[in-house]
Symmetry: C2
Subunit: 273 residues, 2 copies
């Protein structure tokens, strides 16, 4: 495991993997990405994507990723197995497991592929919002370490303040960017897809036990469109359709400033009230 370079962004350290002789990839949780229990789920998802991106057999770019959070990840070392279960002419299917001391904490599947030029169209309208420079930044409570690595500028559905009370809907829309800012890439976009604090907090105006059980990211943007973002803000908007018996869903869309739909993301979240 390498030490964090003074010039390296903590994100790059958090998703860094070292190949072991038996084919596993070795990683280590970083205190900079600690959440209330274990690391920020977005960085775990990004690390699993990175395991494929860095794999010598990888074909093409990320098309979709699903991560299932099976159990808590303890602070410290972990290892990832990434297996290409099927490679076609233009697509490749992966199964991944993240383990600690032989116990699986996280599973994932990923589809990678070589994109082709086709007819294209974005049907969804980007939300009409003020520019990020005119929206104040807001922070998650200080003890949530990972949030220090992100700038969040809420247009609607801001983080509930003390005594906020109930909110009629679960929509949050915010400009987001890494702090310090870095050029966007596939792992960074993956992490941004999980940047929305749990929708149930907004509805109730208070914190409660909640954690993602399954996260899916669909990558609409190709490598060229992602690189074109440089280190600019990304607009994210997320909403729940139903809260029922301990679980709720969240559908999110991530847009570039110029209206490119970069990714759609969906998750199912456990909660306890």
């Amino acid at each position: 495991m390498t030490e964090i370079d003074a010039l390296q962004h903590p994100f790059d350290a958090a998703v860094e993997l070292t190949p072991a002789t038996d084919g596993r990839l070795l990683g280590r949780t970083r205190p900079e990405y600690a959440n209330m229990v274990g690391p920020f789920g977005g960085v775990t998802a990004a690390t699993l994507l990175q395991a494929v991106l860095r794999h010598p057999d990888r074909l093409g770019d990320p098309i979709s990723l699903t991560v299932n959070y099976a159990g808590p990840i303890a602070d410290g070392d972990f290892d990832i197995t990434a297996r290409a279960v099927r490679t076609n002419r233009a697509t490749q299917h992966w199964m991944l497991e993240l383990s600690q001391d032989g116990v699986v904490t996280t599973t994932a599947t990923a589809v990678f592929g070589i994109r082709r030029d086709t007819w294209s169209d974005t049907e969804l309208d980007m939300p009409s919002v003020p520019s990020p420079e005119t929206v104040p930044a807001q922070s998650l409570p200080d003890f949530i370490a990972w949030a220090h690595n992100y700038e969040m500028r809420f247009v609607e559905g801001a983080i509930p303040e003390e005594g906020a009370g109930e909110h009629p809907d679960s929509t949050a829309t915010l400009w987001m960017r890494e702090a310090p800012a870095r050029p966007l890439d596939f792992p960074r976009l993956t992490a941004l897809c999980d940047l929305f604090y749990p929708r149930v907090f907004l509805r109730h105006g208070r914190y409660m036990a909640a954690g993602t059980v399954s996260l899916t990211v669909y990558f609409h943007a190709d490598a060229h469109e992602i690189a074109a973002q440089h280190d600019d803000y990304v607009l994210g908007t997320a909403r729940t359709s139903r809260f029922s018996r301990g679980y709720f869903d969240q559908t999110a869309r991530l847009w570039s400033r110029d209206g490119t739909l970069l990714a759609s993301s969906h998750q199912l979240v456990y909660f306890k009230n």
Copy 2:
């Protein structure tokens, strides 16, 4: 493999699995669920869910399911391996592979769980539509065998007829039900989530090469709410947010007649135009 009973619905035969001595589950494609290439993806997803539902170690009910279609399934026998990678107190995480002659055609992950009573709310409004009895039934072309097992009554975004031309958006909303009708259960609901013909056909008013690469289902309804549907119609509505370089997404919601959001479903689809 048992023969189809004259009284058995073809769906039950299609998702039927026989345990082998080595722990694999053996199944067989059914001509009644043939699609243009291989079986209807919805029945494949339902069969993978069934592999967990019938597993002796299964804990609780389906919470989420992701199926990745890695390659075509040939007509004939297949086998499924279902592995519980982690069992917690109230949740269980599964990894599944469907293979033919040792070649993986389909992978899946599933989260099962024991639901608890919590605060609940449905935020999304059910589309306001006429009752199914007042909407005419429409069929997919006759050569699409699986569609004969479903009734589809389109409220908007009907299947394009010869010379239909372009359509401004990709939304389809329809009442759906098995033909002949059968009481709803988790595998049947899973199959209904994939009942929407490819959204790119609607936009272009014609058929083209298209196939799901990844499908996710979030089960909002518990076993009791699903059983309460009996054999009534389910309202499904689906839309794409972006078509880009060979792939598009689809987000679908399935509602009961009385406004219960039964499931959300998301998929990423390959297309060629």
